[in-house]
Symmetry: D2
Subunit: 383 residues, 4 copies
């Protein structure tokens, strides 16, 4: 293939946070071009937003149905290869299903859907069609996260025993959804977000990260789920004791009322011989700890790292990478895999979250919320 | 009073970790002199250890009974003012009771006793006798901890909502108690430590610190208690979801199998308007966070601190203080209070842990262990 | 204007570090498209590299002369708007002059040229033509650097007294230029780099950053310039005592033999009332220190920042940005200014380094090298 | 010897900073007892201060002459073993000489004297008498500093090339000496401090630390010495380019006008293969960097450290030690050496600063101040 991959974006018009992030991530490596969009359900905003992105008017659609429909009628060398769905949770399932049905690959923001049931249907459709679905669990895109996963998988720490993951934010410390904050509005609205607030928005990231690095799956959950800010409709805070399938135990904290905290996702994993510690807010550093030797500071971009970390880095050591690069890694890895699929060649990298992560994420939401409502100590994590 | 306070030490002979710490702490400010000791239940070690401390042979006793007995017969201006009990947990209660009965004040290492029942008896005896009992919950001795408590009490963060405390260590990642490590031996032995291992040794510190800074008391507990290292007899790891009496919720983690971690007690507390973060391993820094303003770095020894922090600091800003100074604050505050009591004057400082903290600590141990064994989600924290 | 700006790239073919960085930076915001290139002086590499970027063969040129010549003959709506010159230093001047003469705007990697004399000619040409020249002094693109500059300019620290800037790297700790490292080869070769090695490559960044934040210009220099690794042809290490025009004094350190250091550009500036500290390797944090109040942690992406910091940020607080975003800010600010110039409107942002920074950078190189060779203590910084 | 060593203190009465520090340091390990004092030249303060330390009135002297005279007449088993001199610089030489002449060992705060000439006389007297003189260059007392020195001496970094040491403070950012600050008064007064202000007070620490860790001696100096705060009589700021005798070069910064900085002594040393970085304000961490491997975090109190670090530590890993423990190491090492000398046995530890460090410190002051006044670039460091 000697052209860029063509992306159509659904959602992400003016005022969206995550839409702009997706576009930057897709742009970064020059592998993908935005070719069409349905950026808003409001036609004038859809048009204005599309023009600001230099798209030709004929490919600025007023809704995802129109976009998928019309694009599917374009000649193959012109029509989009995949859609990127960056709408609120309640508008994930339908455009994703429609895109898959018309033969388009899908990138979708997390959580994958509004309910576990939707997620399972998506998985079924992906399997039926053989198309690719990429879920943007950003934090697994960081090179130091991949390095951590590799060290654990290589067994350098022995059997993993403890997995502690915390994801505190402070931005919902006030009732901002009544104060004109559009991000707060939909994320705290059960009709748009689903069963969970904080646990869906950031708890799923924490759970995904814990499983990604540790190579263990959550098997039991005992959760305390809270609405801390009076008047809020969904959980803005919670914590869960966890058991994992290969014997580790741990704790997951997710809170959006940690006033004064930005986005402090942190994970600590310990095995018999040592462990790792990683902080999303200083993502280029991975602390590697040892039972009886000095801890080591692994840093992005250095020659001593594993290949998987190197392949997911753009700059040499000391030239810090960040959130957008991690996001771009997911797009780039998806692009490389899609390119290979289209060309019938070996992909250079296949490490990106898929529909399976999406299904586990929805199951996590359902389990953790059910546990929060239960008097029973442990609930099984079931899909 | 124009003499130093005289201390008799019980336990803390050769090979003891905490005995040496107590002596350094008591020495530091020149207010206390070690006048007699019963450092070991083995007479030769007791003698050798006492001589190494330059004590005259006639006041190197071969057991605490002898020491308390003989000291009580000495003239008032010569005999010890208080005992310092630094033995393993199962040898706390008897010497403390005997000392109180003979009119000696008591300093005692935490946890205060072997069981909640013993602790309650000690409390009763303290109240009966009007004598002072000081419990060395070291971490409340740090100036930045006192500053944090003051900020919370002053209400600068509004209502406190979240209390997260974690106390990971890695030194019991292996079965060291079978390997000649004397610290490990008694701390993992139910006959010497009591019902709990990690939860008694360090979990009590974490719980005490959480209550000390937040001004809230734990009211409900939901715990996961583990023996991680095969062959161990007491918990070496655990975590608990917590509810507090004034509305906060939180998580407490205590683990001695966090391989590669030294002594990383950390606390984060958040209210509506901001919060604090403190790390014991870098204790001179207190992060103070705000909902919509830059976080601040409070540092030991600076003019902007509250008086209570200043009174518990010996050096100017940038001349780091540590664990021994925090420990010495507890001794010094106890010494100032005892001096005032003996002189009938106002104490300069009364901020040190007492028998009440001891009772709560034992109740914490009993509750958290019971919760770990229960299928019920929440157990009430009762004394 | 309702199209992207069109960029032609000179240099930056396979194996180039900085070429890829320029492309990512230009791509990031979707304002610029790469329309043509002359990526290498070797025709086959030029072709292969251009095709890998999905450029049509007719616009993959075999040299910059051809590119500038042919592009200038294309119709206005098709031809490039500006060139981006990412070649080694000795190939900056000619393509830049040629581009300016043919009416193309210029982006150029630092240092601007091979000699101060070349730099002055470029400045003259820019002034003659009225075209724009943007110099990619990356580190001034960081939002926290802009915030620091704003705080200083606002006078919150009072008169600035001390400026300490250090830029250590370790990658030239060995004689890598004899070992096949192409980056090392040209950067240590006087025929390609110019009079200076480390002082040109990174010393100029440090000097530029110091002047940018402090608002003061270096007026006197006393330098110690070293070739540390035997066999090297240009300085790989140096330090200079500095005097500034508005009364500050300071120190600049630049070294490429700080073995084990990645890219640790750090600046500390102090005035009467406080100061700032910034570390490039953790660029989203700006320490703001006060004479008698707790230091503050300013963080990228927060509401309390100045507008200039906010305009140069893409993500909310806690979603770390890095080197590529800083680089992209320079491209984006240049793009916004160029767009405004082409449209005859007000630019949204004009804060990017220009030919004046380029001239000062070359003067810095010449002064600091002359000082290193002089027995006189202070040399005047003259242009 | 089966008694504590007896110390007589000269200076350090009410209001003194360093006197209290010396007493705590001497107390800490129970090896030394304060037996007499001449704490102030004002008799009432001398008496009051002595009584507050529980000293008997007959050994609270009104001046050092009286103290040395009368103590020398006491029986050997009662009289002091050594004096500790903690007066301002201009009152170092006379009491030290008198003590040595009367057969007393000496501990003395740095800088050793008022002038290089005085220092040389002290050295001569020490050599004549065979008595011990210990200089309290605190920072060499830290275990991680000793670990760093050992790593360098072991050659693990190869040939040392770069030595950068900085010692910024902010406490003299204002003209506090006119504002009742007694510390500021004498330290900025040439009649009491000597030729240098900041360079004597903290520059000597920095120079001593650089030489201690690197094992190299400063051989050439090129200094910029400033009085930044108008009205001040001695330098409050300076920097020097340095050459060392075994080939390293470097920079030393010492400033007391770094507004908002506490006591941020920092040293970075690099050899061919790696290097170290140490920050006094977080002294239990030593960064050990490697050319092509992850950096390591050496931490006080761990089993992997060298014996010299272990011998100078009192607590296990993660129980932070600080400034007072470092200071106490100097006293303890002196005490151990003195005890061995008195007993005719092998000392357990001889690592403490001596009169030789004192002479080099005074030579540093004279050289750096002379360089500051010279137009010549480099001055030789001569004694």
């Amino acid at each position: 293939m000697n052209t860029k991959l063509r992306m159509g974006m659904i959602g992400g018009g003016k005022g969206s946070f995550i839409g702009a992030v997706h576009r930057i991530a897709a742009n970064m490596d020059g592998l993908i071009e935005l070719c069409c969009c349905a950026l808003s359900s409001k036609p004038d905003i859809a048009l204005e937003s599309g023009k600001a992105l230099f798209l030709p008017e004929e490919r600025i659609y007023s809704g995802y149905e129109e976009m998928i429909e019309k694009e599917s009628q374009l000649p193959e060398e012109k029509r989009m290869h995949f859609v990127s769905i960056v709408t609120p949770n309640h508008v994930h399932f339908k455009p994703a299903m429609m895109a898959l049905e018309r033969g388009f690959h899908v990138v979708i923001d997390k959580p994958i859907a509004f309910s576990l049931d939707e997620a399972k249907h998506l998985k079924q459709k992906v399997e039926e069609t053989g198309l690719m679905l990429c879920l943007t669990h950003t934090y697994t895109g960081y090179p130091m996260v991949k390095q951590a996963r590799k060290l654990v998988a290589d067994g350098v720490f022995g059997q993993i025993r403890k997995i502690w993951v915390e994801y505190p934010q402070g931005w919902l410390s006030r009732l901002s959804e009544k104060d004109g904050n559009t991000q707060a509005e939909w994320r705290t609205d059960p009709a748009k977000s689903g069963k969970a607030g904080a646990m869906g928005d950031i708890g799923t990231h924490a759970a995904n990260l814990a499983e990604y690095i540790s190579g263990q799956k959550i098997s039991k959950v005992c959760a305390d789920i809270n609405i801390v800010v009076p008047g809020r409709m969904l959980d803005d805070d919670g914590a869960a004791l966890l058991k994992f399938d290969k014997g580790a135990s741990g704790v997951l904290i997710a809170s959006q009322v940690a006033s004064g905290v930005e986005n402090a996702l942190t994970i600590k994993i310990h095995g018999e011989k040592g462990g790792i510690e990683w902080h999303q807010m200083e993502p280029n550093t991975l602390l590697v700890k040892w039972y009886d030797q000095p801890a080591q500071i692994y840093r992005t971009g250095n020659g001593y790292l594993d290949d998987v970390a190197k392949r997911n880095t753009r700059t040499p050591g000391g030239h810090p990478e960040g959130y957008l690069e991690a996001f771009a890694n997911i797009y780039r890895n998806f692009a490389w895999a899609l390119e290979a699929k289209l060309n019938g060649t070996e992909p250079r990298e296949i490490d990106f979250p898929t529909v399976d992560d999406g299904v586990r994420g929805m199951a996590f939401i359902e389990t953790v919320i059910a546990s929060g409502q239960s008097d029973k100590k442990w609930l099984d994590f079931e899909i």
